[in-house]
């Protein structure tokens, strides 16, 4: 017996909702309270949560389409149905997912999960969840989230510490442990969902109201000065290569499947690691023009441009030449979390010797970036897309990604830039080398 999932009334004036993105796909197991989809309403983008447990059977309303409140948007199969019958057809296993799910939706989700937390999307965007299901025994001590007494929720000590560190109110986290207890996995999942939600917000940033004038913020002024200085003084030239990402996508999936590392490895981490290795071989890219000299930096400090409200900051991963891929992932994750919650130390935002600007999550085909002085180059990373590629004389679908480097022509020539990009391409196309 399947249950119908209907478009909920997420605000009191809401009449219809649009599915921005399905976070679950047919065949996925769904737990009560898990995020199912992002829904655009008249007020805000909201998360649609599951009210029942089961396996998502069918999506009735595709992404990008709207439906009236109360309309059936998906079907949920009961969990019992899924497991009692030995025939595999009853319960599509997780591995079967790609065959069943809309492949595009899934790839988009997989390709840019790192997209940074965005502070402009404050937690106020979250609908308050309905009261958590509690076992009758503990009902008398149950409090509603509105009372804000998070410490009364059943949660493991580790989950509490992780939540405290990330500044999360446990009232918003769904527990999946015994009796609905919140575990660290639940906190991690909440953070991931929150980031996915925020990522969505970046696509529609708040623009100023027409006909008004705004004073520039301090950050905006700094950006204006430095970008103008860069374009005025640095003779930019640009070189682009297309990187075959099939292996990198497989590599990332296989790392995830083994759960080898504490921190998930993102494409951003993989690209940073490839750049660090390539910069080690081409120190000229990791340098600075200085009137009549070239300063080659002793360390490889890679800055990653992260969008924040009305601007952008560039947290720095220091001494990348010493860091393994999981170490890079850990530092990058910490910095991205800080970009959302604040708490940077000054050396985490300065001293970059090379910058990566990644717009992959915005589906960008190709772009070029402006060099951040006094650096000599910046790498612009576009989206990983399905493109027709020629392999063994056949046109097949492959995943490729455009990367464009902007270089300071006073100290870097085209040949060096081209070779450097070839080097990055080589590492990304042979990703096992990144673990060495």
């Amino acid at each position: 017996m399947s249950t119908e999932i209907v478009m909920p009334k997420l605000s009191d004036t809401m009449e219809e909702g649009k599915i921005l993105r399905w976070l679950k796909h047919p065949g996925d197991r769904v737990r009560r309270g898990e995020a199912l989809a992002e829904v655009e309403t008249d007020k805000a983008d909201m998360i649609l949560e599951a009210f029942d447990e089961g396996v998502l059977e069918e999506i009735k309303l595709p992404e990008g389409e709207s439906a009236a409140v109360g309309a059936v948007i998906a079907l949920l199969a009961a969990p019992g149905e899924a497991v009692v019958r030995p025939e595999p057809a009853a319960a599509p296993k997780v591995e079967d997912k790609p065959a069943e799910a809309a492949p595009h939706a899934e790839e988009e989700e997989e390709v840019y999960p790192e997209l940074a937390a965005h502070p402009s999307a404050t937690p106020t965007g979250f609908p308050k969840p309905p009261p958590r299901p509690l076992k009758p025994k503990v009902e008398e001590v149950a409090v509603t989230p509105e009372e804000g007494e998070a410490h009364k929720y059943a949660a493991s000590p580790l989950a509490r510490r992780a939540a405290e560190e990330a500044g999360i109110d446990l009232a918003y986290v769904r527990g999946t442990g015994p009796g609905g207890r919140i575990t660290k996995r639940d906190v991690d999942k909440f953070l991931r969902d929150q980031q996915l939600f925020r990522q969505r917000r970046i696509v529609a940033p708040r623009e100023g109201a027409p006909g008004t004038r705004e004073e520039l913020s301090k950050m905006r002024k700094t950006i204006a000065q430095r970008m103008a200085l860069s374009k005025r003084e640095i003779p930019h030239f640009y070189v682009t290569v297309e990187v075959d990402m099939d292996e990198a996508v497989r590599f990332k999936k296989s790392i995830e499947a083994t759960e080898l590392f504490e921190q998930d490895i993102t494409y951003n981490d993989i690209i940073i690691r490839a750049c660090a290795l390539a910069l080690g071989r081409y120190p000229r890219i990791n340098s600075s023009f200085d009137n009549d000299g070239i300063n080659i930096f002793p360390d490889i400090n890679i800055g990653m441009a992260v969008a924040v409200e009305d601007g952008l900051i560039v947290p720095v991963i220091r001494e990348c030449q010493r860091l393994s891929l999981p170490e890079i992932a850990r530092v990058a994750h910490r910095l991205v979390t800080k970009a959302a919650h604040g708490g940077f130390t000054s050396d985490e935002l300065s001293g970059a010797t090379f910058t990566i600007s990644n717009m992959g999550m915005l589906g960008v085909e190709h772009f070029a970036a402006v060099i951040n002085p006094p650096q000599a180059a910046i790498l612009a990373v576009s989206a990983i897309k399905d493109r027709a590629v020629v392999r063994n004389g056949q046109i097949v679908v492959g995943k490729t990604m455009m990367v464009t480097i902007a270089c300071d022509h006073r100290i870097i020539d085209g040949v060096v830039a081209g070779r450097f990009l070839q080097e990055i391409k080589r590492f990304l196309e042979n990703p096992a080398s990144l673990l060495v």
């Binding site: 197991r29 969990p79 019992g80 899924a82 497991v83 009692v84 030995p86 025939e87 595999p88 296993k93 997780v94 591995e95 493991s156 000590p157 580790l158 989950a159 510490r161 992780a162 560190e165 575990t183 660290k184 080898l260 590392f261 504490e262 921190q263 393994s324 999981p326 170490e327 992932a329 850990r330």
Partner: protein
């Protein structure tokens, strides 16, 4: 006549199979269990239990021997009857095997004493080798659970006999050899090495890797090596097996230490180089059950590539541990019944060695954690800093706790010392509940106990140890 019909047929009554059968019966499944040998499997009859009985005899020997020097309790004319030592171990195994038989009966589970062969996705054919008729030609079951476990491994070309032993032969070998070469310093090898030396045999232990318990924390392995050397065991680490020859009444075993060959002459040889999953004779290919490096391939519901057939325990995957098999058996049956979500956490399974000092480990070692890029803090407390250990003369060993730097998450723990195998469960519970160093350190532990070592190690990880 129609074949008997069941909801679940379990093949193998070891710690995985019989526990799964009982849980299935509790969940109202009509269950049969098929066993070709004795109920209880290797664990009860040829492994964990009888070997612990032998080790208890060995420890008693060691205690009496050391009594004079330590306690001034002199024993003249200390003698022992090795046949009785072996016989006691068999009695213990018999008692527990009967216990399993009783539990199966109590839970209305049909014990079918025969060999099982998969004859179809829902059919198990039964046969007996002793000429007796099987309890039925075949049985039908909605689901089949394979829990056939594993068997001792020998090197190619070897056959047991004449003092060439695996653990199975050693358990009934009732003549104490004058000298024993143990090949393999894993848990089984170490336990028998300890056993034989306690009764006065000249024991040599050879291990291919450079440390005892090759997968274990290096500090633990080194402490263990010292403990064995102190007990006059010759440890030949980095020595791989090359060849064996009969030389008169003795064995000449040639070992290879990185190209340098050495020959050891010995009365008995105990081969303890791991176990092989038992899949032979099941006719798995008949229903398209795939193997993965010798193990039956399963998904996160313990389902094999034949959807009505499941597998758990040693036959399905590492680690080969009785308690893992039991826990998997319960999980598999509960998933079948739809009362549990698929998935099974292998990261909180403790592994134990029962020689003296005992070794018990769980989760990540310091090296494992660092290799995964986790920043760690370590709390290490030697038992000589623990009052109870000094008072009871069990000062060998230490507790080493591996916690994440960020939250104090318990990533793993290694304990070497007396009672380690009982102490480790506190950490297992802590991991299940996601306790951190704070909870372990702030839980009041009774004094004096060895468990204080765990509390102190948790405090030590935070730089707050009181007694060290």
């Amino acid at each position: 006549m129609a074949n008997p019909k069941y909801d679940l047929a379990v093949i193998g009554s070891g710690p995985g199979g019989y526990v799964a059968a009982i849980r299935a019966s509790q969940l109202k499944m009509k269950t049969a269990i098929i066993e070709r040998d004795r109920p209880g499997g290797v664990c009860l009859n040829w492994g964990c239990i009888p070997s612990k009985a032998l080790l208890n005899s060995a420890e008693t020997m060691e205690t009496i021997r050391g009594a004079g020097k330590e306690h001034g309790i002199e024993v003249d004319n200390l003698r022992f009857d090795f046949k009785r030592v072996i016989a006691r171990s068999r009695e213990v195994a018999d008692k527990l095997s009967k216990g399993v038989r009783f539990l199966l009966k109590k839970n209305d589970i049909d014990l079918l004493e025969a060999s099982g062969t998969i004859a179809g996705p829902h059919t198990v054919a039964l046969s007996r080798t002793d000429g007796q008729p099987p309890p039925a030609e075949a049985i039908e079951a909605e689901r089949i659970l394979i829990a056939t476990g594993s068997t001792e491994r020998l090197f190619p070309g070897m056959t047991a006999g004449n003092g060439l032993l695996t653990s199975r032969e050693a358990l009934v070998h009732d003549r104490l050899p004058e000298s024993v070469l143990v090949i393999g310093a894993g848990s089984v090898g170490l336990e028998f090495a300890y056993f034989y030396q306690a009764f006065g045999a000249k024991v040599t232990i050879a291990e291919l890797e450079k440390q005892m318990l090759p997968a274990c924390d290096v500090e633990v392995a080194e402490e263990l090596r010292r403990a064995f050397v102190k007990r006059k065991v010759t440890a030949m680490l980095g020595h791989g097996y090359k060849s064996i020859a009969r030389k008169g009444e003795r064995w000449a075993v040639t070992l290879d230490a990185g190209g340098k060959l050495e020959t050891v002459e010995t009365e008995a040889v105990l081969v303890a180089v791991g176990r092989t999953p038992l899949t032979g004779g099941l006719a798995l290919e008949k229903v398209g059950i795939a193997l993965d490096r010798g193990f039956i391939k399963i998904d996160d519901s313990f389902r094999t590539t034949c959807p009505s057939i499941y597998a758990i325990g040693d036959v399905a995957r590492l680690p080969m541990l009785a308690h893992k098999a039991s826990a998997e058996g319960i999980a598999a049956v509960e998933i079948m019944a739809g009362v549990r979500q698929p998935g099974f956490d292998l990261s909180s399974i403790a592994a134990c060695v029962y020689c003296q000092p005992e070794v018990a480990t769980i989760g990540l070692s310091e090296a494992d954690a660092r290799a995964r890029g986790i920043e760690v803090k370590i709390g290490k407390i030697p038992f000589r800093a623990i009052g109870k250990a000094v008072a009871t003369n069990h000062v060998e060993g230490f507790v080493k706790l591996v916690a994440s730097k960020q939250y104090g998450e318990i990533l793993g723990c290694q304990i070497i010392g007396h009672g380690a195998t009982d102490l480790i469960s506190e950490i297992a519970l802590g991991k299940t509940l996601e306790a951190t160093t704070a909870e372990l350190g702030h839980t009041v532990h009774p004094h004096p106990t060895l468990a204080e070592g765990i509390m102190e190690a948790a405090l030590a990880a935070e730089g707050e140890a009181i007694n060290f």
